[in-house]
């Protein structure tokens, strides 16, 4: 077990600049205690991926990341053979070796390309690796079924080399943006936590710790506007990442205070779709600055 208590988790995360609230700290602690994967869901940009990174950092253990995408299949997540190297080897060995020795030699370790799942399972320790399975909702159902199998046994077999079983079960963090519902069985295997946008107080803390040199009163304004913006049903609501981007941009521009013009000019840091930028223009930056998420005179 890596953490003694929930508070220990919070402290260790804080040392790494991550402000973990109690539900998150408790979930990390229990995942560690029970040896279960964590499934984090929430809007894009609330810091789900960051949890795995900080976890790896605080435990001083490698972060092994599996980015999911449509069409991801078992081969590219466990292992592949280095075919080019194998063929080269065959060419050289052709003259001297028998089929059996060739078979043994080209399906050996040196021709094996380990992919994230195998890497995580074969991690030598002493502390378990952190395995981040990012945006699992982007992969398809077939892959989920396969993942479920790996997550229950933590073993995979490579026919030519045998079965590998994890000596140190990795700490697994799955994230999902919820573009579709995940398989029930997979969800039941995990501890679940929905991560919301941070409260203004927490977001202020985050900005101040991540964007050194920024004016506290500007941060106050930025965070206020972000919270107003999140009430508007944009196609893509801005996350914490956008707050940080925007803060850095404003710092770079030498801004001391937000004005409607400045909000319009820098809207691209916060809103990533043309429709959304237009929507903001409709509502008016001055209204947003005043904390209004709807144009009042339009009613």
């Amino acid at each position: 077990m890596q953490f003694d208590s929930v508070d220990a988790v919070r402290e260790m995360f804080a040392k790494d600049g991550y402000i973990a609230d109690r539900p998150l700290a408790l979930t990390v602690y229990l995942a560690n205690l029970l040896g279960k994967p964590i499934l984090l869901e929430g809007e894009a940009g609330v810091g789900k991926t960051e949890v795995a990174k900080v976890l790896a950092n605080t435990l001083d253990t490698p972060l092994i990341r599996l980015q999911c995408y449509e069409g991801l299949d078992a081969n590219s997540t466990i292992y592949e053979w280095n075919h080019a190297k194998q063929i080269l080897h065959i060419r050289i060995a052709e003259k001297q070796e028998s089929v059996e020795t060739l078979d043994r030699s080209i399906f050996g370790e040196e021709f094996l390309l380990q992919r994230p799942l195998l890497q995580a399972i074969r991690h030598p320790g002493p502390r378990p690796a952190v395995l981040l399975i990012d945006e699992v909702d982007r992969a398809d159902e077939e892959f989920e079924a396969f993942l479920l199998e790996v997550l229950s046994d933590f073993q995979v077999s490579v026919p030519e080399l045998g079965t590998f079983r994890a000596a140190h079960r990795p700490i697994v963090v799955l994230t999902s943006n919820r573009t579709r519902e995940l398989n029930d069985a997979l969800k039941r295997r995990c501890l679940y936590l929905w991560i919301d946008y941070p409260t203004p107080t927490k977001e202020r803390e985050i900005v101040l710790s991540r964007v050194p040199g920024i004016d506290a009163s500007l941060v106050e304004q930025v965070v206020g506007v972000m919270h107003t913006l999140r009430e508007i049903d944009f196609f893509k609501r801005p996350g914490v990442a956008e707050t940080l981007d925007w803060s850095r941009a404003l710092l770079g521009l030498g801004a001391r205070e937000l004005s409607p013009e400045l909000v319009d000019e820098t809207a691209g840091c916060v809103l990533k779709y043309h429709d959304d930028v237009e929507r903001l223009r409709e509502i008016g930056a001055d209204h947003v600055l005043a904390g209004e998420s709807e144009r009042s005179e339009a009613r």
Binding site: E70, W81, L193, W194, F235
Partner: protein, 377 residues
Amino acid sequence: MTLEASSIGDAAGAARALVQRVMTFGRLCKAAGLGATPARMMDVLRSLEGIDLRRRDDFRLALRTNLASSHEEEALFDRLFRTYWEGEATADYQPAEFELEPQEDDKNREIPDEPPDLLGNPEQWSADELAKARELVGRWTGESREVQRLVRELAERLATRPSRRVKPARRGPRVDMRRSLRRNLAHGEMLELSRTRRKIRKTRLVMLCDVSGSMDTYNPLLLQLMFGLQRALPNSRTVVFTTRSSEITRSLRRRSVPEALNEASRLARHWSGGTNIGAAIGEVNRRILREGSASSTVAIIVSDGYDQGDPALISREMRALRRRVRAVTWINPLAGSEGYTPTARGMQAALPYVDHFFGASNAKAIRALTKQLGAIR
């Protein structure tokens, strides 16, 4: 809780009582639709050993992270937790009084419905709405064999496209190096190549069904077609709407069509009182089509286009929708009936963004409709 209890009296007894209460709570969770499986209940008990039970919030969070699996389930869990653990908690709460069986109260207490899918709305519904819901189910006249066949054919044919996944094949454009090497080891030369070809992938449908009063003409065959498609193409999503919208994908997946209709009418507790097409499309744009596979998604809207909302909203949301899917199909049950022209304001606002417009006024039109749907690429 228990630590204090243990200092008061029989520690082992209190612990056993707590376990019993937690197990009873687990059954309540299960009855309310949470996946409180035996394996998960074991994990709950193991979790309790690791946390400070005096912190009630830790106790709640530990149970929740084990038993809930979505944002909605978290909310449902919190409601159940409050009812069960806090409904009777008093200042001088005595652990010795833990009951081994649920109290009469617990049994009678209303167990909340299953969590709605993404767009549900926890509201009470009026007698009027109840009547409307029953009416909709009443329109269900059982599964017609013909529609079943149509659905089957359509699901098979429906706009297939090559997947990024590959499968082994005798002939195919790509060489499968892994299998080729294995096969040719004995030859020492690459004599026979193993090949792969792309798998075929089904289109994902996102269906929006207008179930408002103005859809009384709703054809039972059309309902069956839509819901049948949802069941045949598991990737798809179905949303019903009037002035609000409610996703019914999960209930359609789990139940028979009449049951699902009942369920849909329970979830969509707002049958009457007009239609807001723009708002419904907006919800779908933001909640269901947020990111991802635009190229494989076909949106199907079933509505007569009579709308109380702002036509400008319909235009805006239709434009956004059009950009997020491969094709927008509008099925208007009135179209094709004699003397119909699409003059409803909502219909007018939407038409510029519609790729395929079909009628469905009778069985013949529905047959034609399935043919045309099958041809969408």
